[in-house]
Amino acid sequence: MLTNMATNLPQDELRAHAQAIRIDIIKMLNQAGSGHAGGSLGMADIFTALYFRVMHHEPENPLWEDRDRLFLSNGHIVPVRYAAMAHAGYFPISALKTLRKLDSDLQGHPERVRMPALETTSGPLGSGLGQAAGYAYAARMDNRRFRVYCVTSDGEHNEGNHWEAVMFAAKYKLSHLTLFIDRNNIQIDGFTNDVMPLEPLSEKYKAFNWNVIQIDGHDFYQILSAVEQARSEYQRPTVIIAKTIPGKGVSFMENKFEWHGKVPNDEEAKRAIKELQKNA
């Protein structure tokens, strides 16, 4: 069982995991020939923290009933989740090359029926928090102790469905629910501020009666302390607004919205991997 108590990995070890996960993301996307590079690379540190420090889970027993649940709402960044799961021991790293291939459990967007450890099926945006909230509500009805995590993008805050769930979670004081926002400022059509401005985002959540924490999503110390703060909140759900750099770790992808829904070709993949290895 991996818990924050049991595996007290130092930060440079987490960083090494994250870089290895990034390298696998590049390889997977290059082999798949389609997918979303920007968000997947940008969230590598948070997924590393979740799978190697934050969540109580058992990779060898993926449906362990007391596991913490993770709902990925922005399903298009699932390559980072697949890579993190493979590195955590859910399945062999070699399986990553089947991403987006016929009959693979690693579908282009996550499907619970094919891989139950994904907890749900997502892709169409704005629907993950509602599901996470419903799950958290059910767990509290039965006095269960596990925590429910949800990861969303910033772009999907354009969706009404998401804000309906924001209100629901606050009304029912789902304090065992923690939401991560990948605040990378890009979406398919451009910068979030041009497509549909979201600021002031933290004030919005405060006004909706959430506990709001803002962090640098590439700083493990900040990620882990935000999760600790969320654990000590007993009245409100917590949102961790994580500033991230889309394409993080690959200089020619960083902060380029063009890389939101694009994948590296062979030459770009080679350059990206070289750069990631250098900084591992």
Binding site: R112, T120, F168
Partner: protein, 331 residues
């Protein structure tokens, strides 16, 4: 004549037959189900009393979730509850759920394959005075095209109650289509009800036409059959309460007996039970078909009876369609 094995009401064609809103049967079913099964949870989007879930809410406050006016929110929360292991019933008006939240139903319930029960109250023109916005006529079409979804449209209050209990026992997503209107309670406790099994209510020797219906149109179809019989036209009437999975065997059997079929439903003529039966018979046993439904239009405000008349959904319209289809067959 009435099929004895259907055990329908003795007051069937008498003025004494009791009329009860179909939604009341739904509400009663939910209370009974709540007592039987602690996993059952009810949700609504600010329509507690209109959906008749208020009695469940009063008796089981800990298993009732008010979501506010947010059908997409309600249905995704329901998905989470079902994913955990509860049996959630998400209750709203059909025009809003599944009308507004179809994609969430597709992705988070059907593709995700979690057993949420979606109760769409207020269907068809018999919604009445609220008008076209609230008179859902496209829901069957929306729901029956989804893999994993089961679609059930009960025909009176007793059947609605039975449908609730049956839906909870299936580990699959189910759409329950529940009319608001008062409708004659022609079934009894003994009338068989099994999801996926059509019930033959009326059956005569040497039938010339089969009438297949769901919802409040079943009783209209029975009135039509009685009138046709008086004029020497023999028929079969089938209550096809489950639209998906369709009872292929029962429908093909009846089509073979008559070669002429009328489908009667409070739904658009396209995409509903008429569509489902056309797909089945077109591929397996081509027969003459007439669909009595709303002809590619929206409803309007009015009294239920006035609206059934205006939109061509009465026993008389069904009888006319029966004569037309027989004429086509014989020409």
């Amino acid at each position: 004549m009435l099929n004895k094995t259907a055990h329908v009401s003795e007051a069937m064609f008498s003025k004494k037959i009791e009329s009860v809103p179909v939604r009341d049967g739904f509400g009663e079913g939910m209370v009974r189900l709540g007592r039987e099964n602690p996993l059952v949870v009810a949700l609504t989007a600010d329509l507690k009393e209109s959906t008749r879930i208020h009695r469940f809410a009063a008796e089981f406050p800990d298993r009732f979730i008010e979501c506010g006016v947010s059908e997409q929110g309600m249905i995704t929360v329901a998905s989470g509850l079902a994913n955990y292991g509860k049996i959630p019933f998400a209750c709203s008006f059909a025009a809003f759920s599944p009308g507004r939240n179809w994609e969430q139903i597709r992705t988070t319930i059907c593709l995700n394959d979690v057993p949420v029960k979606i109760a769409g109250l207020f269907v068809g023109v018999t919604v009445g005075a609220d008008g076209a916005t609230h008179q859902m006529l496209e829901d069957i079409s929306l729901m029956r095209s989804l893999p994993n979804m089961i679609v059930v449209a009960p025909s009176d209050a007793i059947e609605a109650r039975k449908a609730v209990i049956a839906a909870a026992s299936i580990n699959k997503p189910v759409y329950l289509r529940i009319p608001r209107v008062e409708s004659p309670v022609y079934t009894t406790e003994e009338t068989p009800f099994e999801i996926g099994k059509a019930v033959t209510i009326w059956e005569e020797k040497n039938p010339q036409v089969t009438i297949i219906a769901h919802g409040v149109m079943v009783y209209e179809s029975l009135l039509a059959a009685r009138e046709l019989s008086k004029k020497g036209i023999m028929s079969i009437v089938i209550n096809c309460h489950t639209i998906k999975p369709l009872d292929d065997q029962a429908i093909i059997h009846a089509a073979k007996l008559t070669d002429a079929v009328v489908v009667a439903e409070e739904h658009q003529q396209s995409g509903g039970l008429g569509g489902a039966i056309s797909e089945l018979l077109g591929q397996q046993y081509p027969a003459y078909i007439e669909i009595v439904g709303v002809a590619d239009s929206f409803g309007q405000s009015g009294k239920p009876k006035e609206l059934l008349e205006r939109y061509g959904l009465t026993a008389e319209h069904i009888a006319q369609a029966a004569r037309r289809v027989i004429k086509r067959k014989n020409s």
